[in-house]
């Protein structure tokens, strides 16, 4: 175990991770390694701790026990480490969380300019590149409030990519979208997966999981119940709880 953690190919290493909210045990002995370029889809019933788990990776939540290492940097109370990790980890939220007082372009250039210290020109060029990649370069001058949900989420993805992260975290990126715009966001995510990005996605889009995931992780009540490649996960689930969950989610 220790050897694999130290190996250069491991982007995220979780070992005996625990977290409580008061009495509630939201993360219970989580052990998981994510390799460079690996795509992991996390699913599970509501309240099972999926968001909490991936938010620990960029320290939006704090774990209370165990070890969590991201790209070789261990997350502790050391602010320097936290900053270093956040620079390398991008995150896409369910509700986009774009900055409404800034234009799309400004949303994308803010962090490269202020955190990476890039010259404005440079940052704008880069931002346009990524906006093209998510197929909305023509919206660069607009404010987030003027865009549809699907467009906003694609801006949010471009905004994260502008930091040129090594890892991307997605927390239910399509749950707040109209059904007809879900696919435009998923297409961008598939595109990203094919480019070799390390991705952790909390999502209930099982089609997406089948298509791009290397591994599907099923969580319930703060525990990882099952983690296996998609064909195995969907066709031969090992645990009763997984089967129940799959039957519920696939019947929709």
């Amino acid at each position: 175990m220790a050897a694999s953690a130290a190996s250069a190919g491991t982007m995220v290493h979780m070992q005996g991770l625990h977290k409580w909210y008061g009495q509630l045990h939201v993360l219970n002995d989580i052990n998981m390694d994510v390799a460079r370029g690996e795509r992991v889809v996390i699913c599970g019933p509501s309240g099972s701790g999926k968001s909490t788990l991936i938010r620990c990776i960029n320290r939006l939540e704090e774990h209370q026990q165990g070890r969590l290492t991201v790209d070789g940097v261990e997350l502790t109370n050391d602010l320097k480490n936290i900053d270093a990790v956040r620079r390398e980890v991008g995150m896409v939220f369910q509700h986009f969380n774009l900055f409404p007082h800034l234009t799309v372009l400004e949303n994308c250039t803010l962090s490269p300019i202020w955190v990476r210290g890039r010259p404005r020109r440079d940052a704008e060029e880069l931002a346009m590149q990524y906006l093209e990649r998510v197929r909305i370069p023509e919206q660069a001058g607009k404010y987030p409030g003027q865009l549809s949900g699907g467009q906003q989420q694609r801006v949010a993805i471009a905004r994260s990519l502008c930091m040129q992260p090594n890892i991307m975290l997605f927390d239910e990126p399509t749950s707040a979208l109209d059904p007809e715009t879900i696919s435009e966001v998923l297409d961008v995510m598939i595109d990203l997966a094919e480019s070799g990005m390390t991705m952790l996605c909390v999502t209930h889009e099982m089609g997406f999981a089948r298509q791009v995931a290397n591994r599907v992780v099923f969580m319930d009540a703060g525990e990882i119940i099952e983690a296996s490649p998609p064909e195995m996960f969907f066709n031969h689930p090992q645990s009763e709880r997984t089967r129940l969950f799959l039957s519920q989610i696939l019947s929709h």
Partner: protein, 357 residues
């Protein structure tokens, strides 16, 4: 979304119908309003305009007239506007006033906000002080217990706001800080200051502060009042800013942090611009209140606009025309406050443009 068809342009009659006589109770209110206007306006007009004494005139002429005595203002306006500042030197406060007004005018342009403007303000205030105090460049020295009237009222407000506002932002952030010591300190400060009237703060600054200072050291009186005003308004502004901060969703903080921005970067670039935009009405409300509250410095014997007017009408010859004096400065206060109110509306629309959520 299909837009509703544009309403046809209404004629004057239709407008009247729709807005003033749309139903029975509206009609009654409209008629009542009209009746009151008809009753109130002509006497007011007679008093203020038709039968008033304009321009230079003897008090006896005023006494004979049935209308307002604007001759009193004509006679005393320099005393009202500039207080006890030496008569021959009053071009200096006038110039200072113009300087302040120009700077305020420049600052209204949102695109001008920045370091350059702050520097310009620094220079302008230095020039203002130099002009008022004198003692250099051939200007005679005028101690600041002789400053008064509108320049004093304006400078107390301007410097008060310029320092209290940034201070209030730190207080508001401090009150939400995760560090208990900072949080408690800010909270205690805000609650203490809000718990006492400005008058008692002014008194304390004026009479109690010197007791704590070593003998021989004294702080200027205007400065003492200024400090009291700053401390007072910072506490109120902090609560207004905090209201704005609370309106910003948690997701904004999370997104900023996820992008690697530090606490201060996140506040400066993401949170505060939105929070202050939300808080503008509350903030301007406090600004307006503060401008009027500067008249309280009269109790520590500073001659603000209001006191200057009262001193001006202390002249036995003109004493009976005090109403005109109050009307005159009420107009000045109103113009400034109305400007602030209008400007805040303009700012609100500016901040809102483009960012419908």
């Amino acid at each position: 979304m299909a837009a509703a068809p544009a309403p046809p342009r209404l004629g004057a009659v239709a407008w009247l119908r729709a807005n003033l006589f749309s139903n029975w109770s509206n009609t009654v209110l409209t008629l009542l309003g009209l009746f009151l206007l008809v009753r109130a306006l002509p006497p007011l007009f007679d008093w203020g305009v038709a039968h008033a004494v304009w321009g230079a005139a003897d008090p006896d002429v005023c006494k004979a007239a049935s209308g307002a005595c604007w001759a009193m203002i004509h006679e005393k306006y320099r005393l009202i506007l500039f207080g006890r500042y030496p008569y021959a030197e009053q071009w200096r406060p006038l110039l200072g006033l113009v300087l302040l007004v120009v700077m305020i005018g420049l600052s209204c342009n949102r695109n001008a906000w920045g370091l350059r403007l702050a520097e310009a303000w620094g220079a302008a205030l230095a020039a203002w002080l130099l002009l008022m105090w004198g003692g250099v460049a051939g200007l005679t020295f005028v101690p600041n217990n002789l400053w008064g009237g509108l320049p004093l009222t304006l400078i107390l407000t301007v410097i008060g706001l310029a320092i209290a506002f940034p201070l209030s932002i730190f207080l508001a952030l401090g009150r939400r800080s995760r560090m208990p010591v900072i949080r408690i300190l800010c909270r205690v400060y805000i609650e203490l200051i809000r718990g006492v009237p400005l008058i008692s703060l002014l008194f304390m600054a004026s009479f109690m502060l010197p007791l704590f200072l070593p003998t021989g050291v004294s702080i200027d009186e205007v400065l003492r009042a200024q400090v009291a005003i700053i401390l007072f308004s910072a506490a109120y502004l902090a609560e207004a800013v905090r209201g704005g901060l609370q309106a910003i969703p948690k997701g904004q903080h999370e997104a900023a942090h996820a992008l690697g921005l530090s606490y201060w970067q996140a506040q400066r670039k993401i949170i505060l611009p939105q929070a202050i935009a939300v808080a503008i009405p509350a903030i301007v409300n406090i600004f307006i209140g503060l401008f009027k509250d500067t008249s309280l410095v009269a109790i520590v014997s500073l001659t603000d606009l209001l006191l200057a007017m009262r001193q001006a009408i202390a002249d036995p010859q003109w004493r009976r025309f005090f109403v005109e004096g109050y009307v005159f400065i009420a107009l000045i206060y109103f113009v400034v406050c109305f400007f602030m109110s209008k400007y805040s509306q303009y700012l609100e629309t500016q901040f809102r443009s483009g960012q419908q959520r």
